[in-house]
Each structure stands twice: as C-alpha cells, then as structure tokens.
Assembly symmetry: C2
Homo-oligomer: 460 residues x 2
C-alpha cells in the first residue's frame, strides 16, 4: 500500500471526527461586515490556531485593523519538497433574512436528501467547509510520515467585507508568506461528480454612495414640488448606468475587457451548460446581461454593474409623506481582464457627480476593490492537479472561470508574484450568501481526499 493510500484510508476512518471539528467551526457567528460580531470572528480565528498547533504547525492569530489573520507554518518531511501557501477565510456573510432559514444558521445540521447528506449552516460551503478539507488532509499526512509539501496556512476574516486589512498585512509579511505556489479552496465543482479548476476570476469594486439634499426630512405636502428628492436623484443615477442592451454606460468602462479566445469559447460551449436550468432554479428565465453573450460568458467573462442595496426615506409599515434628506445605495462592479478597479471607481464617481442636480451632494464610501485574474491554462501545477483530481473523481477536471471574486489571489499575484491553483468542492446550489446555505457531505469527504492527492502530486 502506497503512503498516499494509507493517508486516504486514514481520512476515511476519521470521517466522524472531521465532521465534528467542522461543526465546531461553523458555530462561530463570524460575520465580518457587522462590527457587532467582531468577538465571534476572533474566537473562530483562535479555534483555527489551536487546531493547527495540534497538528504541529507553528500557528498564531495576528491582529489587524479589522479581524485577525491566522497564519500557520510547517515544513515538509523532505527538505527539497515545494512549499505551498494555502488560503481560506473563516468569516461568513450576514444571515438576513433570517426568517427564511429552516434552522438556526449557526447550529449546523446534517440533513439527509435524495442526492445524499448535506451540511446546512452559514459558512458550510463559503468557506469553512472548504478550508477544513485542506486541514483534514494535513491531519492525515501527519499520521504517515509528515507533510509531502511545506505548507503555510493563511486564513483571513474579512473576505466577505472586502479584505480591507489584507494588503497591508501581505506587504508587512511578504517574506514570511512567500511560497512556490498558492492553493485556494474557495471555488466550485462543475457538478457533483466533476471536479473543476478555476483559471479565471472576476475582480470586484465595491462603492457606496449617499446622496444628500435638504438639511432635514421634509413634509411632502409642504415641500413636494420645489424640493429636490434624493431618491429620484439616486434612481436616475442607477437607471443611467446601463443601456437597453445591458451594456454599462460609464465612459471607459470596457477598457481592458478582452474578447474570449476562440479556443476557450469552444471549450465552454462544449460544456453544454444549461442556462435554462441555471436561471430556472432561482425562478428566472431570460438572461438580463449584455445582449450577444451567452449566460456562461456573462457570468465568467463579462463585467457587471449591480446595486446590492438601496435605502432612503420611510420604509416601515404603512405610509409616511416625507421627502427624505438623503438616500443611499451600495454598488458592486464585477471586473474582467485588465479592467483597472481604480479607474472604474473614478469613472463611477465622476458620473455620479456629473448627474447631481443643484443642492445635492454625494458622499462616497469605498468597500474595497481588486482586479480580475487569469492563470495559464497549461501550467505544470494545473496539469498535476488535473491528474490528481481525475484519480479521485474518475473523470477529467474542467478548466473554467468564475464570476465571483477572490481578491486575495490578485493581491498575492501583485505582492508576492505567486500563481494560484484554485480548486474547490462547492456546488452551484449551495446557496452561499443566501438562507439555508449547505455543503455536500461528499464534497467535504472527497474534497479532503482530493487535497491529499494534489499535495502528493505536487511533491512527486
């Protein structure tokens, strides 16, 4: 029996223990965007430190201006083995609307279903379940002669709120964190049986705008007519950002947006992605993005401008005849290719200011920005990982893109010149960021086995 087989056998034998440990982590209410949950974030970080120390890692929870970053380091059994940096995040999205959850989001459960058992909790898939697949793989290697690669863990606590503390942390700790390759476990499979390596990621710029008009809320009978209404101003700004074809109208917005190479386009068409099913699962039927692009291209390879939240005036029960003093909206831009996040933010701010009528002011609040990222499709790391995944799942890995952002990948590329191998075991129906988030038990168990195989392959 090879050493890898023994490691896989150990993973299989300790499935109950692994699940117990994941549930412990899922119970922390580590919602990073809401300051009220800062102590829960700190406790989640401390729990990870204790876990990794028990596996022989030199681990600590490092304070930042925001939530702490967990760093843990261990050497490989063989001195000439490569060293990898593995990234994950222990923070989670808010749980509202909480009344739509079928059980407490922070009381994890194993729920049986026709397609197998599912782990249900906020963060089950994004990203606590995923990061624990890697931790469990390391645990199994410890029982069989040690780690095949040197490993540095970096688990941040602000991925869901813009990773604001991370750039300074990376700059300050660049030397300590540098490695041969970065591994990221925050992505999805193609379907429940087909592994996937993510080779392109959209970037993200988050920008909040507060439109201010009168010095106080006004009575709409007394002032309705002559008083400018900031909700109208904001609505016009939002409405003007897209034309009838779904194209974003900000000047210069499409600078650096590449057309997809014909080769990749053909690969993606061959995937027979079922757009009707994809939209139908969430009650939609007609793609609302840019005309002349397929749904897969709209998600994986085209930029967006969305409003994630809007509020102004009276929003309680009944009515209130008020002209509000202000209204605000949270915008997000998904970016691709070489789009420059700062240039996009600048163009957006200029557009808002140009469209402000008399007596209005705009206040801008930035919630972070990161560029899009592409990795070479045919690198050595991707070839080895592909073979390892095929051995575990019995079919070739899809080489794909992702519509979501993992800002750290871009940051590491810039700060430490490292490429990233993005492999994860989430599924499209995991409801991440939504009520009743879940992670397949098979993803959790075969995910840990997959990482064991990949680590062995990278060190071979």
């Amino acid at each position: 029996m090879s050493n890898l087989d023994k490691v896989l056998e150990t993973l299989d034998a300790d499935r109950q223990g692994a699940l117990y440990r994941l549930f412990e982590l899922l119970r922390f209410k580590s919602i990073s965007t809401d300051p009220a949950y800062a102590p829960e974030c700190a406790r989640a970080a401390d729990w990870l430190v204790a876990q990794l120390q028990s596996l022989g890692f030199e681990a600590s929870s490092r304070p930042t201006a925001g939530h702490p970053i967990v760093v843990a380091k261990a050497k490989a059994a063989r001195p000439d083995a490569p060293h990898v940096l593995i990234y994950g995040h222990y923070d989670v999205q808010p749980v509202d609307p909480v009344e739509l959850w079928q059980s407490d989001p922070f009381d994890p459960r194993l729920v049986e279903s026709e397609t197998g058992p599912k782990i249900v909790a906020r963060g089950a898939a994004d990203d606590k379940g995923q990061l624990m697949t890697f931790v469990e793989a390391c645990r199994a290697f410890r029982a069989h002669g040690g780690l095949p690669c040197g490993i540095t863990f970096l688990f941040e606590g602000e991925e869901e709120s813009g990773s604001t503390s991370l750039p300074a942390f990376l700059e300050a700790n660049a030397k300590e964190l540098r490695a041969n390759l970065m591994l990221v476990c925050d992505t999805n499979m193609w379907d429940r049986d087909t592994p996937l390596i993510t080779c392109m990621l959209r970037g993200l710029a988050l920008e909040e705008v507060v439109i201010k008009a009168a010095s106080r809320d006004l009575h709409s009978g007394m002032f309705g007519g002559p008083a400018v209404n900031p909700i109208h101003v904001l609505a016009k700004i939002i409405a003007g950002l897209r034309d009838e074809t779904g194209r974003i109208t900000l000047p210069g917005f499409y600078e650096g947006v590449p057309e997809l190479p014909e080769e990749i386009k053909q690969q993606w068409e061959a995937l027979k992605f079922d757009a009707k099913d994809f939209l139908g699962e969430v009650g939609l039927s007609v793609p609302a993005g840019e005309a002349n692009y397929s749904v897969l291209e709209q998600i994986w390879a085209r930029p967006t401008c969305d409003v994630n939240g809007v509020i102004g005036g009276y929003v309680g029960p009944g009515s209130k005849t008020v002209l509000p003093a202000q209204a605000s909206a949270k915008f997000s831009f998904r970016l691709v290719g070489k789009q420059n996040p700062q240039a996009i933010v600048d163009a957006f701010r200029a557009y808002v200011l140009e469209n402000l009528p008399a007596d209005c002011e705009a206040e801008f609040i930035s919630h972070g920005a990161s560029p899009a990222l592409s990795l070479p499709f045919r690198s050595e790391a991707i070839l080895r990982a592909s073979r390892a995944l095929e051995a575990e799942w019995g079919r070739p890995a899809v080489l794909a893109a992702s519509g979501g952002s993992i800002p750290i990948v871009g940051l590491f590329k810039r700060e430490l010149k490292m490429d990233a191998l993005m492999v994860g075991f989430g599924l499209d129906d995991d409801r991440i960021h939504s009520p009743n988030e879940k992670y397949e038990l098979s993803s959790f168990q075969k995910g840990a086995r997959s990482w064991a195989r990949i680590l062995a392959a990278l060190a071979a």
Copy 2:
C-alpha cells in the same frame, strides 16, 4: 365688558392650565401607521373623551377597523345658533430618525428662544396643539353662559396613515355628524404675525410597489450579469416618472389640473413669498418642480409625484455582494383641481406593469387616496372668520392654498355636502413630520383666542 371679552380674559387667566393639558396629550405615543402603537392611540382617544365630557360634551371613543374616532357633541346656548363640526386628529407621524431629536419626542418641553417660547414634541403642531386651541376656546365659553354655536367634535386617529377607517365611519354616521359648517384646525399661518385661511388643498394618493424577481437572494458573483436586479428595475421606473422639465410623464396625469385664475395668481404674487428663504431654511436653493411655475404655485396649485421611501437588498454596515429577490418603494401623488385619484393610481399601475422586464412581478399596496379640494373665496363664513382673525392679530387674513392634504375635508364635502373653514396657527418652520417638531406658544395661546372670536362671529 362684552361676553367675548370675558371669554378672552378667561383664556388669558388659564394659560398654565391649558399648557398642562396639552402636555398630557402630547405624552401619548399615538403613531398611527405602526400597529405597535395602537394601544397609545386608544389611550389618547380616551383622554380626549374625558376632557370633553368634563366640558359638558356628550363624548365617546368609537371603535373602527383601525384606531378609534372621538365624537363629542354639545348644544349652543341659543337654540337658533348655527351648529359647526370641528375636525382634528390625535395621531402623529413616526419619530424616526429618533437620534436627530434633541429631546425625547414624547416628553414635551417649553423651549425659550429669541422669537418666543416653543412647545417641542412630536405632534405639538400636527395636530395636538392645534386641536387643543379649539378645546380651550370651548372651555372658556362654558364659564360665560355656554357655547355660541352648537359644536360637534370629530377627532380621528388615522390622519397620518391615510384615514382608512374614516369613509365607512362617515357613511354610517352621516346624520349624526351633519352640521352647517365644518371647521378644521390643521393648517398654518402666513407668518408668525399674519393669520391665514386655507381655501384650496391638494389631494393625495399613496401607493406602494414591490418589484419581485428571483425566487431568492442571489450571489452577485455567481449570478451577476444574467440575473435581473429588481433594484435596477425599480430605479428605472422611478426615473421614468418625470421628464427633464419636472413634468410627470404618466399618461393622462394632468387631466383635470386647472391653470390658476389670473386674479388669484396676482393675489399670490402680491404676497411677496420669499422662495429663496423658504428653500434656504432647509438647505436648498433651486426649485426642483415643474419649470415655468413659481415655488408657491408648485406647492399650492401643481400636482407632484414623489417617492417617500425605497428599500432593497443589503442596507446594513459594510457591503454584501447580493442580488436581492425584491425591492420596494412608497410613492405619493399630490393632486390638484379635478384630478381623479383612482385614475392616477390606475395610470401608475399600468405604467409600472408596462415597464416590468421578463421574470419580474409587481405587487401593489394602496395606502389611501383623496381628491383635491377648493372652497369659494368669498363665502359668508370666510368673510366673518377673516374679520375675527383681523381683530385678534391686527392684520387681514391671507386667503391661501395648501400643498398638504386634509383628506377628511374632501370626504365630508362628498358625504355630507359641507363646506369647510380651514384656519390653523402652525408656522412653516414647525418641523412637522421631522425631528424636533415644535408649536409656538403664541400660536397656542392666540389660537385659542382666535377660535373664541370666530365662534362668536359665526353666531352673530
């Protein structure tokens, strides 16, 4: 000394008592739009009943599907005297944003200032302070031979939430409530020294819209592009309601909107209304209503379409990359002349439905509607009231219009064929519906004296 002079003397002698009673009424948190405050509304009604019973009125709090209506009746000293119906409302607007209040909105205070003492509390001006001016006038007459007119009080508890229970109540009690004239004390003075009679009122239609898209909130990375965003849909609907000149674009919206008679236009121009000051007081400078109409016309004689509240997606601290399943807005239309509220609502709903993209639905919630109202400028009641007000304030009363609605006036006109005399003592800077609402102590005291004079004049 005439009987009226004795009544006025009694009012002056009992100023402390009157203020004490008003403070008692102001302490009830009678916010009608929020069901949580229903018990406070009932208690305010009961307090009024007890007050009026102590003044010899046959008074009761009548249950409705919403908040109770207070009705109280007393005969005149002389059997041939006219009978008047006096209308007011004991409910108040919500107090949010409560953090902008300098003191507890329901702990009334007398605050000294350069322009004289002010009563500060939610409802001080709208409408508890105003309605108590009339109650105090009645109290003083009781000490001097009884009421000069027969009087029926009607105090409702849903004026700030669309007066939804009132139409059925009026229909059911038409006979009991009929009178020679209706008096309404819910309007303003021209300035702190000049009394005003309101001869025209704008109507109001309140309509809420919920735009629904996907069956659940979506991750903007995974679905951003192809998934329709209900905030965008709503923004486009709001933005499309007005053109560049401030004109409302709904088909048929201006049907029944009269141009102002040249005579009234000249009267209003002669008022030398300081639009710059009016807007400047609330931090504005440029009129945002229909081009080619003065600010006074925009408020008093032109219709509007405003959004009073909007909400959708994540509005907590920080950011959340969510595409919300729904977004909603509360609209209000101020109406003039013969505009038909139901036709406006129908046109609005048709417009929204026409502008819904694929996969979106609209849910409509009506919060009430009432037409605009005009009264003859030269009726006998207005002439007598004008002279009475001039005697109290030492200058002629302005005959004016009001941008706000008093739905009951239209209802009474329709149900009971009564004209209404609208006199009130609020000031433009009373901050009604806003934080730190106040009522001038002089308005309260001279207001009660004014009503005493008007009642005597109507009975002469």
